[in-house]
Symmetry: D2
């Protein structure tokens, strides 16, 4: 049994990790920390976990994280970078669900995240945890940077076209819509039911932190810099991301076949038949990225529709998938969840 | 492996049965019928089942239901009563998720359901499938009448008080609120998003079909007739029932202890600590009835809060629980789902 | 033109007051205060008011509230009681939308609201602003205590029965459901979209601040103390309250006729035909309390369904109605809004 | 007083017309027809109109529409084209809220709408009712084709750029999101609360009927054909459209100034300050198109965010605006509604 610790488990990625790990028969949840809630049973804060998780939140000091085999950071940005080094030194593998190790260009990271990086040396070592492009490196990794939610949906959607060199990479567009859980469980006015409910809006149009992360990944696939316009929107639902991607084809290509071939062996990417429209609820609670690809009116604009559950394939589920790879377990262990519909 | 058939699987109880059975390792889904959709792969109608269910809907004629070990009817009222007898004669066990066999008084049933009963002889044999009161009979049953959603939440909520003879049974009140999925997947105006969304209303105040079912169950516990006012409401959410129950105590009693003792051995009933308030989302996707009990201001009115997922403990989950009992499987097999929150 | 000031206008009752006053042709909005947002144009915080309200929030010091004819307090509890006296002394009429002057028993108020009352002398003078019972006193009032949202829906629903002496007042039950805007615009976890959305729960079962307010009003109508069980619930919608009321009849009575007669002359109370079910959305944005009354199965339990928009008849609309009365304007001026449906 | 008739008033555009006309003091609603509901009081179907509309639905035969000054068609596509000619001949002005007269190319219309046009001669006469481009022709018109909801939001959003010749018109992209009321009040599965709620999806990616309408309008502004990729999406809210528009600048231009100047005199188009993000709820119930314009990272891709209430500026409100113009009334009469927020 793999001994697991979670740092900062009171948010939505924390409770989602526990939901998945509670049904994963290869792991044992040893500790979950929260400075603020230390001593409170997890199931008191989250009654959905009554009967499934019977430990209490503990202080970092009491958690003995260095006795774990792997520690997940389900914390705000800027925490993992201060604690990863000691854990790694103690032989503990680390998966950071926040952004601390996602951007290879430390200066770029510091610009977007507004803080100095506490552990730039580890940035180089960290493996970007998108298994569909980095599976082998993840297997060898001690430190995985779990991708952001938008970056997962957008990169998986664009990759086949870019890897095939079939589109103009200077003018990519990613119009992305997220459910409100993407903003976390912080008490803030703009995510109140009465603010976000029955309402739709864009945000971060001038620049969003996921932009450099997406561009880094697409540039690697393109073998050079890409031009991307990324507009995120808040949609009045709880879970789910729908990315609508636009690119200009540079040569005639069977996009349906391209996508099916690219993802033929990928258990967690589902390319739907031509003419389908993936719904966010079709992946609710599951680790799947489901997509469809179009050439409207047979023109040279290709449209990709890519959906994920932002808390699963966009966060906790992908983290478990990475853990499975890092420990040599079957990649899908603990992730065989049927989406909840309706 | 138990061979399972489902009649009428295009509705929400059908898809929910498939969600649960797909993860139940003691069963094999042999056939699912739909006259209207025969030939269509299940996963084409419900992309959430892609990769989990790979059969197509079939006509009843093609389904060979008499080769199954058990058949679930996830049909409108009035279908199972016409088909159960032949299946039973062929040695197939039957679980009806509709109302055909729930009411022992056939005349009463015919009054509320507006049709003649096609199989009154079977009504007597049918076992009312609420395991928390009928577990042993269910184990022996060939034919189980799976309870309605409101009746499950209301009966489980009232039973400890009534069994203890602690309340005035002539003036019980059940103020019940249901998510919209309780109305099924029929194309109707009143359950459109634009009608049911951002709106709250009562309905069926003059009389609802679940009233006689609840009264029958409570009367059995009381050993005589009960007086019940039952007001159902539609609340703008997808899943969940919240029953708020009111009764007048006839003697002083520790209601918290009463409830904890009554349900101490029940895996799928969770009595919360005093002062708690169960949320419907805390059982989303799970087969749990979660409840709390109060005596506001220490008076003689007792208030019970009882929540279920109407599609799970109120329908498909309870049906699987009954199947497990009928076939001698562990009662919770395939039902160990952690609720999806948020 | 009546010169109007608003204290504390950044919350939902504040923006709702502005929505209504902007279309009221007998008033001029002079000032709206917010310590925190002083200097910010109102329409920058609330773009819905662009083109309708062109003033900025000001500090209390800059607002010259003593030059107004009337000041509305759309503040948290405990503010108006400290400022009303000076305004009244300056000849300004005051309408408090919070709870400071609602409870005549100051000790009771202090118990429920957890603070000392700063102005107990004014409590006696304040008129409880429910026009359907206090119209004449409101016309003469300098200081009006605008009722709470639940108390408005519950009192209007029970009054005909109690005034007629037709029910047992020792065992009244008010099962009440509120949209999330009733909790205000504060940044709190429990009213986040991801907490309150797609979820239903009770709260305050042990005791809610609106309980003593309702009991005070009902006791006055009954001519003596009443016994009331009041259970509030949070329902996943933005606006609206639905109160489902239960009482035991003590004599046979035509409840439909009783309600129609009681409210025959009331412009803002609508008794629906027998058999109707009022929906909360049918009063969305309007100052109407809409209700229906039932005797299920012809028994002696009477059920009243009473709906309001908690921000209008439950707050800002009723405040404007009170202002109209206090200044001799037509009672409905500025309130002739057609509900927004769907 | 202008005598108004409405054909087909049981849908959402019908009830919305009545909401607006009930508060318009220059008109008198004479008749509203519905074959199916003839005889039923309007306020029985729509209790929100109790006290505001006191007529009943009538059959077309009883409605004496030829005695009206203007008739609105709030019908499915294909009705107005069969009835407009007779009304016009009787001196009645006609405003069609459906699509019958929107597309000048009759063959194109027949292809997209799947029926033969019954009145091609009138297509030429009909004026496309977007006041911001056709105000003078509307003033003179007998027959107005009220624009579709998506076309209103998309055209108003693109027009300044295209009229200024500042963008490449061969590769425009309109990523559009609509609330569910855009699909009308028909009983259909895909718009049920349990299908459309808590879910996000694209639809009509291969081709949507609003595509030729938008292209026609943009081509007129461009003085030649345009290339447009139009992807509509369904978002889980009731009212509102959010169009996110992408175009490539062909010359450097101050887009903020361009938009402010273009719409400086337009009462119902609101260009927000740079850096703003319009929310759909900020126009809920109002006839406003609110927008913001961006050049992310200062590049040559321009992003326009354009929101409307699909039932108001996208349907009934724009129809009233057109009526006002046709009859020489102030353009905004009856439309001075403050949006309902929250």
């Amino acid at each position: 049994m793999i001994k697991v610790g979670i740092v900062g488990g009171t948010g939505y990625t924390g409770v989602e990790l526990m939901r998945l790990l509670a049904r994963h028969d290869g792991v044992q949840l040893q500790a979950i920390t929260s400075r603020k809630e230390a001593g409170m049973p997890v199931a008191e804060m989250y009654p959905s976990l009554r009967g499934h998780v019977d430990i209490a939140f503990s202080t970092p000091a009491d958690a003995s994280l260095d006795q774990c085999d792997v520690v997940f950071f389900a914390t705000p940005n800027g925490i993992a970078m201060g604690e990863a080094e000691a854990l790694l030194a103690a032989g503990v593998k680390v998966i950071d669900l926040a952004a601390d190790f996602r951007i290879k260009d430390v200066a770029e990271w510091e610009k977007w995240y507004g803080m100095s990086h506490a552990s730039p040396a580890l940035v180089g070592e960290a493996v970007y945890g998108l298994p569909e492009i980095n599976r082998e490196q993840i297997r060898q990794a001690r430190l995985v940077a779990n991708p952001g939610c938008y970056p997962t949906a957008v990169q998986l959607g664009f990759l086949p076209l870019i890897e095939a060199g079939a589109v103009d990479v200077t003018s990519l567009i990613a119009d992305s819509k997220s459910g409100v859980s993407g903003a976390g469980r912080k008490a803030e006015v703009h995510t109140l039911m009465c603010e976000a409910g029955d309402n739709f809006k864009a945000y971060g149009v001038g620049g969003h932190r996921h932009l450099p992360e997406i561009k880094q990944g697409l540039a690697r696939a393109a073998g050079g810099p890409v031009g991307l316009t990324f507009v995120p929107h808040l949609t009045p639902m709880i879970r789910g991301i729908h990315a609508t991607l636009y690119a200009r084809l540079t040569r005639d290509i069977d996009v349906q076949a391209l996508y099916q071939q690219r993802y033929a062996g990928e258990r967690f990417v589902d390319v739907m038949p031509a003419g389908s429209t993936p719904e966010t609820r079709s992946v609710r609670g599951a680790n799947t990225c489901r997509m469809a690809v179009y050439r409207p009116q047979g023109g040279d604009t290709v449209v990709v529709l890519s959906v994920i559950d932002n808390l699963v394939k966009g966060a906790a589920g992908q983290a478990v998938q990475n853990m499975n790879l890092m420990f040599g377990l079957p990649e899908g262990q603990g992730l065989d969840v049927v989406p909840l519909l309706p």
